[in-house]
Structure formats: structure tokens, C-alpha cells
């Protein structure tokens, strides 16, 4: 076993495997990724990428006019689901993550069905209640199977240890960071492309004024269900990545504060583009927490910033206006001022679910 664990060629065979191994080795030997400082940097970057997925899920809900304080529940459900699959049933990581994301999307869709008619504060409270119900339920959940080193699986409030897929398959933290960043990049590009399509415009219209959107023939409920499922899937994907990174999860991890932070990051970073939540995460985790500039004051500063932004810039730093200005300036610089750049508003019939004559 020792040979397999330490042999970098043990996990990949053949020409394809050799190339993949070379890519992973290159990532592993990036400058500055060695030693305890490198470990901290890799860990911090992984945390930021995973938190960005959760913030993006909160952003999607905000986009359709929903303030959800329950996204941490889907994060937790995804973490447990993918952890159970990979640690108890030896399902490969990719499949475990995909299944966890699908499970999170399904749960989120199921929650969205009975809460479709709720709005504002009522919806926020409903999602908060669901988040707490899920966390308490995970605290009751005992399901363990015998493993080589003792029982493996969720053990109620004591958590779920030994999610060891990365260790057993010789994946280093730097390589896992590469995978996490790749997942985040894929999600980000998909969302940014989708925002330029009718789908993205429809989501924004629903979020701005659902009555007006419905009057223009947009299927408001369908879009909200879609957004909820997608947001749940994203949060669960982040949870799966988190569980495999830390090898250990417990219900306390999925505290309401996690969901509140996710909403805070989206509100702080801005709702004008999918890059906004990432900016929020970078401001808090990357600047305030990692720099240790003002230890002990981080939560105060973060909370104060959110409060100030809600008063003076309610749609965050990168709001729609700023994004539009940046896009216009970019187009002017490139000499393509006449070309529509940001999400051109389609004519109402294109968004309609009714056939127009």
C-alpha cells in the first residue's frame, strides 16, 4: 500500500494517464505550494473556491428575488450524500460529487414547490427553518458500515469521519485545488454565458418584478423552480468538495451562519454578474480573514459592510449599472460600440410560454 500511496505513477496508466499525471505533477510542484505556508495558501484558496460555489447558489436565488437562508442545508446534504457514496460504497469521486449535486438539486426543487407562493420575509424564514430541520436531522442520522479501520459513515452529532478518497487515491491538496478551481471556472462560465441568453434575462426579470414579468408571459414559477434546483445543486456540489477536502463533516458545520455568509457575499460582491459573489468571498475570506489585519474584528467589519451596502448600494459592488458601464467602456475601447454586449433584452414574445400568432 505504501508503494501505491507514494508512487505518483500508481494512479494513472497509459498515455492519457501519463499526460494527466504530468498535469497533476505540474500543479503539485507550483512554486510556493510547499511547506506549511504553502499548505495554508492551498487550503485558503480551496476554501475560497468552495465558498464561492455556495455564494453563487445564494446569488442565483437573489437573482430571482428570493433571499434564502437555507442554502447551507443543500451544502450539507451534498456533503453527506457524496461522502456516503465515496467512503461507504467506494464510488469514484466524480460520480459521488455529481450524485451529491443531483441530490441537492432535487431537495431544493422539492422545497421550492411548497414555498412558491411565499415571498420576502416569509420565504427567508421558511428556508431558515428548513436549514435547521436538515441540520438537526443530520444530527440524528446514524448509518455506519464496517470498514477496514472500524465503522464508517454518519454517526449523528459526532459527525462523519474518514472520507478518505483523496488520501486513498494519492490526490494532493494542490491537485484537489486544481480540480476545485476547474469546477468553479466551469460553473462561472456557464452562469455568465447563461446570463447573456434569454434564460438569464428571464431570471433577472422575475427577480426585478415578478408581476410585470408574468404579465409579459414569462413562466415565473417555472423559472423560480429552475433557479432553486440549480442553486441547490451548486451548493451541494460545494458541499461534496468540502467533505472530501476536510475528510470530516458534522452537522455543526452547516450552521445558519454559513448560509447567512453566502447571502452576505452575494450582496456585498454584487448582483450584476456572477463574478460578484466571488468578489464578496475574496473580500471576506481573502482580505479580512486571511490577512489577519484586524483579528477579532472580522465579523464586525463584515457585518458592518453588509449593512452599509444594503443602505447605500443594495445590489452590491458589481451591480447591474456598474457592469453595464464596464461593458460599454470595454466595447468602446474595442471599437464595437454598436454591438450589443451585455444581455440584450429579448422581445417579450421570445420569453413567452404562449404561442404568438
Amino acid at each position: 500500500m505504501s508503494d501505491r500511496i507514494h508512487s505518483s505513477t500508481g494512479a494513472a496508466t497509459g498515455a492519457d494517464g501519463a499526460f494527466a499525471q504530468a498535469v497533476r505533477d505540474a500543479l503539485c510542484h507550483l512554486p510556493g505550494l510547499g511547506g506549511a505556508a504553502g499548505t495554508h495558501a492551498v487550503g485558503l484558496a480551496s476554501d475560497m473556491a468552495i465558498m464561492s460555489l455556495l455564494a453563487l447558489s445564494a446569488y442565483l436565488m437573489l437573482l430571482v428575488g428570493r433571499v434564502s437562508f437555507g442554502q447551507q442545508a443543500f451544502f450539507g446534504l451534498g456533503a453527506y450524500a457524496s461522502g456516503v457514496l465515496s467512503a461507504m460504497f467506494q464510488v469514484p469521486l466524480g460520480l459521488a460529487l455529481a450524485a451529491g449535486a443531483a441530490f441537492g438539486a432535487l431537495c431544493s426543487w422539492l422545497l421550492a414547490l411548497p414555498t412558491l407562493r411565499l415571498s420576502g420575509l416569509h420565504y427567508a424564514v421558511a428556508t431558515l427553518a428548513f436549514g435547521e430541520m436538515a441540520r438537526i436531522a443530520l444530527g440524528w442520522w446514524h448509518w455506519q458500515r464496517p470498514g477496514e479501520d472500524g465503522p464508517v459513515g454518519p454517526a449523528g452529532i459526532e459527525g462523519f469521519r474518514d472520507i478518505r478518497w483523496l488520501l486513498e487515491n494519492d490526490v494532493s491538496p494542490a491537485q484537489y485545488l486544481g480540480l476545485t478551481l476547474l469546477v468553479l471556472l466551469g460553473v462561472l462560465v456557464l452562469l455568465m454565458r447563461a446570463e447573456r441568453l434569454r434564460l438569464g434575462v428571464g431570471l433577472r426579470m422575475v427577480g426585478q418584478d415578478d408581476t410585470l414579468a408574468a404579465a409579459q408571459g414569462i413562466a415565473v414559477d417555472r423559472l423560480r423552480l429552475f433557479a432553486a434546483a440549480l442553486a441547490g445543486g451548486l451548493a451541494a456540489l460545494g458541499g461534496g468538495l468540502y467533505a472530501h477536502r476536510t475528510t470530516y463533516i458534522e452537522p455543526a458545520v452547516f450552521d445558519p451562519m454559513l448560509g447567512v455568509h453566502a447571502v452576505g457575499y452575494a450582496l456585498l460582491g454584487g448582483l450584476g454578474t456572477a463574478l460578484g459573489p466571488l468578489l464578496g468571498v475574496m473580500l471576506d475570506l481573502g482580505l479580512l480573514d486571511a490577512s489577519r489585519l484586524l483579528p477579532g474584528w472580522r465579523m464586525v467589519i463584515f457585518g458592518g459592510l453588509v449593512a452599509l451596502f444594503l443602505r447605500w448600494r443594495p445590489r452590491g459592488l458589481l451591480d447591474e449599472t456598474l457592469v453595464h458601464r464596464i461593458a460599454t467602456a470595454w466595447r468602446l475601447r474595442r471599437g464595437t460600440a454598436g454591438t450589443p454586449g451585455l444581455a440584450p433584452m429579448p422581445s417579450p414574445p421570445n420569453l413567452s410560454r404562449r404561442k404568438t400568432p
Binding site: M1, A36, G156, I157, D170, L179
Partner: protein, 163 residues
């Protein structure tokens, strides 16, 4: 949605990423045999402001022999605030006693901390222990006790907190 139908650099990037991510998965081997995982004993004491958490790690092979020559890195996070308050990991130094390593973490606050022990070298492993870091006055050094379910459970109205 033509995004998915039209070949683009984005699609190529996603395909490349998916292929890269799947390659180790396709070649994944069976889980490690039990005998390779070392036995671990972790004892920590807290002191000073911050507070500081000094941890002694004893590693043994399954046959009881001390595990020497390992690189041991200690880290910590607060389970109730994941991805925040993640403290800087420190490398634990060998104390001179076979299989024993010592490192000191600089925590941000008292409470329940999950202390991670990352082992590389002869074997690769990662363990996590939940410890309660208590307030320690003056120059005293207080043992960090293993967190029990009561320490981790959400507070319930009327429930007595046992210590």
C-alpha cells in the same frame, strides 16, 4: 441553448477539465489496507492569550512500533464556522522520543476546535479530533478535552450543560 450545441473554447475547456478530473477516477484503486494507517494519540494543552494550543502527537504503526520519519502538520478549524477562522497550519517537530511530534497552534478564540493531523512520509493519512479549548488564567496550562456530543449539540432550551 446554442451554448451546448456550438463547439467553443468554453466547451473544449469543460471537456478537458472533465477528462482530467475523470482520469484518476477511472484508475482509482481499492481502498488502502487497514494495516497502513497509523495509530494516533493526540494530547493538547492551551495557554496564554490567543490562546495557544500545544499538541503532542504520538504515532505508532499497527504493530505497535513508533512511526518515525513522518512529516506531521497540525491544522485547525472551528466546526461551527467552517471556512472561516481557519488557522495557519504548523509543522510539528520530532521531540526526540520515537514517534512523537510536537507543534503549537495559534488559535483565535476559545471553544470547540477540530484539530487536523496531516501525516506524510512513510504513510499518508489525515485525522481530525474535536477538542474543547477552555479558558486558562495566568500562566496555567489547561488540557484541551475531547469534545463530547453535548459540546457539539445545538443548545436546547432547558437542557443542562454537563461538564
Amino acid at each position: 441553448m446554442n451554448l451546448f450545441l456550438r463547439p467553443s473554447p468554453f466547451c473544449s475547456l469543460l471537456a478537458l477539465g472533465a477528462w482530467w478530473a475523470m482520469t484518476p477516477l477511472a484508475n482509482a484503486q481499492n481502498p488502502a489496507p487497514a494495516s497502513a494507517r497509523p495509530q494516533l494519540e493526540l494530547q493538547c494543552v492551551s495557554y496564554g492569550t490567543g490562546p495557544m494550543l500545544e499538541c503532542l502527537v504520538d504515532l505508532k504503526r499497527r504493530d505497535g512500533a513508533p512511526l518515525e520519519g513522518a512529516t506531521v502538520t497540525l491544522g485547525g478549524l472551528m466546526p461551527s464556522m467552517p471556512m472561516a477562522h481557519t488557522i495557519r497550519p504548523v509543522k510539528a517537530a520530532a521531540t526526540g522520543r520515537p514517534g512523537q511530534y510536537k507543534g503549537t497552534l495559534e488559535l483565535e478564540m476559545l471553544g470547540v476546535w477540530a484539530v487536523d493531523v496531516d501525516i506524510t512520509g512513510p504513510v499518508r493519512d489525515k485525522r481530525s479530533r474535536n477538542l474543547v479549548v477552555h479558558e486558562c488564567e495566568g500562566n496555567a496550562r489547561c488540557p484541551a478535552t475531547p469534545a463530547r456530543p453535548a459540546d457539539m449539540a445545538p443548545a436546547r432550551p432547558g437542557a443542562a450543560h454537563k461538564h
